[in-house]
Symmetry: C2
């Protein structure tokens, strides 16, 4: 069993990006610039955005944080998006989700210029992903693809079972893994709450991806010997062993499943750390295009 | 075994559309108007476009055919697309594919206003389909969804195996059938040329969709008793029994597979006739939005 070390891989990706940024700046090119729009004071969103800004600093990107109060109107937010669309110094930007309920996330997402949509949530980027055209891929699926690539995990002709059909993880990953290419060319089964016979399907899988948010959902009797297991779950569960009083639990019963696997991602330290690396990769890609 | 009669269903859909058009015109609304752009003199394209124009007449739509010689420049074609985008009388339009090799199909497709893209090929429509937002769905997958709906075939929790991952059939259908909804909520496995163990997968399937273009690919020993089989293949094979010297063959070994099925689409007369009905439905939808 080999552990897929997302923390280390993320560090490697960041080092590669930092090196390229140094070379860009040395050749008098503009420093890549990411902007983040944050609405309100949701604790989770604050933490995520702060981590993204910090990551920008680590790799030498410029960053801008645009804050709005919880009661900002949709029109004001659309105006801010338009301003960022037109700002030539901004290579890419994100609007941190979720937004307050009086604002349509769909309208905001679709207002972002697809060429600056480094979160990859704009339908144009989702659609281009389907046709295999150049597109920004959202952070989690791209992070998983990067781990699969860097660990040399074969996907061609393999049966991948993905559990969870969300727009930001399961669905796009099911598309990416079954596209022509490397990694890709897998036979993908997309499972969800309505799926019957999930255990039997999982037992056939060469690669299982769980993205449900149900701690320890995937048990050892659902995994065949030698399978690759990718755990996207990150649920906070109470813990007496940490200062914070909680710890992250994945969707896999790690202790019992891991010994059967050829490769497995831990939680924390697996898929999680790759998401910010993916956002940085997208921003670098946007900057390169200029 | 029940035959899924696409010819009859298509006629019913057209009758429903014709009725709605009558009511629109009676209440002084504009008649729906479809335009088709045809480049060159490819025999297949001529036939398809002629059939689309004829179908418009049948249901009471206005139609416009815009023709260009084979040697039209990409810029001229883009200008024509822009003109149609701006033409307020045109509710929707299509650019018949394939285009000559000196023109980028991607650029032309992306130049079409997504709100007039009744072929559903624009990435914005593909992307919105993923998120389950309102979108134009391309003709073949929409036609299949319509047949499934009208024949009351249960898809929720069913295992669907789709063979063929094309951008216009297999891929979008795999998305539509696994989205929440009715029809939908299926567990979908998308198979293709790289798939291993295809027979074993097919034998597990409650519903099999074959969209390969290989005559009689799906044999009786690949289908479980009571399965639903949807045949998207339409290959011309030589025939001494027809005046034309050829006939259409599907991807299913119909004679032997049909007796095992609960439902099956014939070729011809199954999925094929539904594609034009879908285009008309999309055009009507575009006209309704005005």
């Amino acid at each position: 069993m080999q552990l897929i070390d997302g923390k280390q891989t993320s560090r490697t990706v960041k080092d590669e990006i930092a090196l390229e940024v140094k070379q860009m700046v040395a050749s008098a090119k503009k420093r890549p610039h990411l902007a983040a729009v944050l609405v309100g004071n949701d604790g989770g969103s604050e933490t995520y955005v702060a981590a993204k800004i910090k990551a920008c600093e680590e790799v030498g990107f410029s960053s801008t944080l645009v804050r709005f109060d919880e009661d900002v109107s949709e029109q004001e937010l659309l105006a801010a998006v338009n301003k960022l669309n037109k700002d030539e110094d901004i290579d890419g930007f994100i609007v941190q989700l979720p937004l307050p309920s009086h604002i349509s996330e769909e309208r905001i997402t679709e207002a972002i210029d697809p060429s600056k949509d480094v979160d990859g949530f704009h339908p144009q980027n989702l659609g281009r992903m389907i046709t295999g055209s150049d597109a920004y891929i959202s952070a989690t699926p791209q992070g998983i693809m990067e781990l699969i690539k860097r660990y040399g995990i074969e996907t061609s002709g393999k049966h991948v079972v993905i559990i969870g059909r969300s727009n930001i993880v399961g669905r796009p990953l099911s598309i990416l893994l079954s596209l022509k290419g490397k990694p890709g060319d897998a036979t993908v089964t997309l499972c969800h709450s309505r799926t019957k016979g999930l255990k039997e399907l999982c037992l056939q899988a060469d690669i299982i991806v769980v993205a449900l948010g149900i701690p320890e959902f995937l048990k050892e009797d659902m995994v065949k010997e030698g399978a690759v297991v990718i755990d996207v779950g990150t649920t906070r569960v109470p813990s007496s062993e940490t200062k914070s009083g909680w710890r992250l639990k994945g969707d896999v019963d790690f202790e019992k499943v891991a010994p059967k696997c050829s490769y497995i991602t831990p939680v924390p330290g697996g898929v999680g750390p790759m998401t910010i690396a993916s956002l940085l990769l997208n921003t670098l890609k946007a900057a390169r295009k200029k």
